[in-house]
Amino acid sequence: MDQKKLAIIATKGSLDWAYPPFILGSTAAALGYEVQIFFTFYGLQLLRKNLALEVTPLGNPGMPMPMAMDKWFPVLLTALPGMQAMMTMMMKKKMAAKGVASIEDLRTLCQEAEVKFIACQMTVDLFDLDPADFIDNVEYGGAATFFEFAGETDICLYI
């Protein structure tokens, strides 16, 4: 049986959206898939050595908030300074309490399982990002590089 393949495009740079690419990538690798994750635009934040990912309740009516604040707290006030930091802190605390792995851990597990990370060269240039800020073993490539692998995959996800 040929080895199955999974390609993921990671485009989001917030703490909540950092989870799907790394959870699915590491799990697929554990199931025997060959996996590549292509990081583009804000998804490149997930490759930083020092992650500073946050969640924001702003513009996200589906996000459960402490004390059922999502039901009664005025939307405009979620834009107040400090709200994002507070929500991020509470989210991280909740995740730790529920035994959910940190993004750093899941990312390491992906790398240990030989999930290949590819950074979008165009976005790196566009935002003047410094590859020295990224973790090791990241490759750089463009759309054609992505399709070379994606064209042969069984599953291809855009996150």
């Binding site: 799990t27 554990a30 025997g32 529920k98 035994g99 959910v100």
Partner: protein, 76 residues
């Protein structure tokens, strides 16, 4: 509980950690050896079935006892 060669306590860990830890532990076992996994994540019941089906390792036993889930997986 049947005999096993190694035990992995994944209590308190959430998806996908029990599967990832199991995969890692199985890598250290020989063919035919049995791994006993203990988990508290209710999602792990279906996940270990799916893991066994997709990796070819056999799920010998899956049961709940005292609020914990126990699995026996035989390495292919």
């Amino acid at each position: 509980m049947a005999n096993f060669d190694q035990e992995l306590d994944a209590s308190g860990l959430n998806c996908p950690l029990p599967i990832l830890r199991a995969k890692k532990t199985l890598a250290g076992l020989g063919s035919g050896q049995v791994l006993h996994i203990i988990a508290t994540d209710p999602g792990s019941v279906k996940d270990f079935e799916a893991f066994a089906k997709q990796t070819g390792n056999e799920l010998l036993e899956s049961r709940e006892e005292g609020g914990k889930f126990h699995f026996l997986i035989k390495k292919a």
